[in-house]
């Protein structure tokens, strides 16, 4: 319907069908194939602009008119989010991006982002109708706890889709080569991480704290309960972490003078600032600890395979390293009560388990960087003298000793039988040992 004619805003029947029909993301994908999307981007960009505009209007309607909120409007809006997620990566492709440049940066991009953020905690849509207003600045305290997990699976799914849409916006850089990536600022990141957006500080906090409510220890009392499938909450945490990791990418650039007018006067990165501003790190520390501990716990069950690690473990590695970069004092907080030791044991388990696999080089590098970040903290070096009781299978000689021995033995074994692809990790290993 978009390919063979120009569509216009007033074609109510068309838009109504578009937003009412799909029941799943797969249907949206089937309705607009890759080839059709490419043709649209190149030959009929106005139709795509129309689709995006209409979808954003749908988001605005739900956000601005609480009195109109109905299950039908919510369904239309969910579908609008899916359409946007479908078309955005193609509109951002370098070969056609010029067709949409003005469209985004003369008003549409800020509108899209601000409404997506507003809808993240919208009663009756992404949180239950009885939920308190979480988009105001006064809601900060609520968001370090149960309020983040407000709602049930259907709300988490909506929030997951909204965060995925934000990720699609950020994905422009994915399609650039390394040179362009380092040379050009990602305007979408500047926009999304803009501290000036209304309610943004609360929303950023909610995304960071979403990790803290995934208390796996309380879910794991029955074996196999979490082996069947991932939960919707786990999916939400996964995309939230991916989103955070992408927001925290920080390539230093000399100038940002070419920004469009809507991006003038933006402050420092919202998510970096939120992490810097956290006065109490214990919740974050607890969340990181319980999720990493899962790695070694799952390797030590009385029924093999009855417990699995969280699907977001790799994202957690990147995020933990970012936190340690932005808040070096997190290492002391984690070391003070031994949490850093459990995390180190989990990281050693990961490293020794995946060391042979060339494909997992990034995983190893990331795990080792976290231990190196820990190693710069004096408290951590002292804590390493704690006796280590081995409870999981790891490829190092049997020993009785401390966590320092675990670290030394794992690293020695890595360096001795080092496969070629790991040679570049050597400085990281040796610097860590020399620090502790």
């Amino acid at each position: 319907m978009f390919l063979d004619r120009d569509v216009n805003d007033s074609d109510t029947e068309l838009w109504c069908e578009l937003f009412s029909r799909p029941s799943s993301y797969d249907e949206v994908i089937t309705a607009l194939s890759i080839e059709e999307l490419r043709t649209l981007c190149a030959d009929r960009p106005a139709n795509l602009r129309g689709l995006v505009h209409k979808s954003i209007l749908q988001l605005e309607l739900l956000a601005d008119k609480p009195e109109l909120r109905s299950s039908e409007l919510c369904r239309f809006t969910e579908n609008a989010v899916k359409w946007l997620t479908r078309v955005l990566p193609f509109m951002l492709e370098p070969s056609v991006a010029h067709n949409f440049h003005e469209f985004w940066w003369e008003g549409m991009a800020p509108r899209l982002v601000s409404y997506v953020l507003r809808l993240l905690f919208c009663p009756s849509f992404s949180v239950p109708s009885s939920a308190p207003d979480l988009s105001s600045d006064s809601a900060k305290d609520l968001l370090w706890g149960s309020a983040v997990s407000l709602g049930s699976s259907c709300h988490w799914r909506v929030r997951t889709n909204l965060v995925k849409l934000l990720l699609c916006c950020l994905s422009q850089e994915l399609q650039e080569d390394v040179q362009a990536f380092t040379d050009h600022e990602n305007w979408w990141r500047v926009l999304i991480c803009n501290k000036g957006l209304p309610g943004s500080s609360v929303l950023s906090l909610s995304i960071i704290s979403v990790l803290s409510i995934f208390d796996q220890s309380s879910r794991s009392w029955l074996p196999y309960t979490d082996s069947w499938s991932s939960s919707d909450l786990e999916d939400l945490i996964l995309v939230s972490l991916q989103y955070l990791n992408c927001c925290l990418i920080n390539i230093p650039r000399e100038s940002s003078s070419a920004r469009p007018s809507c991006l003038q006067d933006v402050g420092p990165n919202l998510y970096t600032a939120t992490l810097q501003g956290l006065s109490d790190l214990t919740v974050l520390a607890g969340a990181l600890h319980s999720n990493f501990k899962r790695v070694t716990d799952s390797a030590n069950t009385y029924l093999p395979g009855s417990m699995r690690i969280a699907i977001f473990t790799e994202e957690l590695l990147v995020f933990s390293f970012r936190c340690l970069q932005i808040r070096p004092d997190l290492a002391s907080v984690l070391s003070a009560d031994g949490k850093a030791l459990d995390i180190t044991a989990a990281l050693m388990y990961i490293v020794m388990t995946y060391k042979e696999n060339l494909n997992h080089f990034g995983l190893l590098q990331q795990a080792l960087l976290i231990v190196q970040a820990f190693s710069t903290d004096r408290e951590f070096s002292i804590a390493l003298n704690t006796p280590f009781v081995k409870t999981f299978s790891i490829d190092i000689p049997v020993f009785s000793g401390t966590y320092a021995d675990l670290l030394f033995l794992s690293y020695s074994s890595l360096m001795q039988g080092m496969p070629l692809h790991l040679y570049s990790l050597q400085p990281t290993l040796l610097v860590t040992l020399s620090n502790v």
Partner: protein, 200 residues
């Protein structure tokens, strides 16, 4: 066990074959000596096992203190050839003094112990070391802690690693189709497609 293992690594990295195979390979020996020296100087109480491991490797000391550029270039690195200037730039900075002090002052006592009691156990030797002190024999060395410096390379790694995992999530986790199916990322190359850990 840990010190013995790390001493094995030291032995490996002290081989001239390794040292002269690349312009930065000597850094490994610097780091390892720093690790040993920190322990000998500042944590003597737990250093007995290290001392014994080092004494087993005492043949390395003369080799390291009199390194010379090999005549024939290494076959492993055809693009790089070590020269005397390069060797001179770091050779004198190797902190070998504590190693030498251990050999000069503790080795005779260990040898005496073994001569007196040929069936001396490891524990016997440890107690000999524990009775020794190196106070006054070692000049203090600085302790340095190396933090991770932000750099473009590190950011590139983090960016690529973040995006790789995102792309995989959509492709492999639940949907067979993703928003990115059909697009061509250029930020990094896929040489292979590892399944993310934790995801079946």
């Amino acid at each position: 066990v840990s010190w013995a293992k790390l001493a094995n690594v030291f032995e490996l990295f002290s081989l001239t074959k390794w040292l002269f195979a690349g312009p930065h390979n000597h850094h490994s020996v610097f780091y390892l000596l720093e690790i040993f020296n920190n322990q000998l100087l500042y944590q003597w109480e737990g250093a007995s096992a290290l001392v014994l491991s080092l004494l087993r490797l005492k043949h390395i000391y003369p080799k390291l203190s009199s390194l010379e550029v090999p005549q024939a270039p290494s076959e492993d690195s055809p693009h790089w050839r070590p020269d005397a200037e390069w060797l001179q730039s770091w050779k004198d900075q190797l902190q070998l003094e504590p190693f030498k002090v251990v050999i000069d002052h503790i080795d005779p006592k260990i040898q005496a112990c073994i001569e007196a009691n040929p069936s001396a156990t490891e524990d016997d030797l440890v107690s000999v070391v524990k009775k020794c002190a190196l106070v006054g024999l070692l000049r203090p060395l600085p302790i340095s802690v190396r933090a991770i410096e932000p750099s473009n390379d590190l950011e590139m790694f983090l960016a690529a690693y973040s995006w790789v995992s995102y792309r995989q999530t959509l492709v492999y986790a639940k949907h067979n189709q993703s928003s990115f199916a059909g697009t061509t990322p250029k930020l990094f190359e896929f040489t292979s497609q590892p399944a993310p850990i934790g995801r079946a």
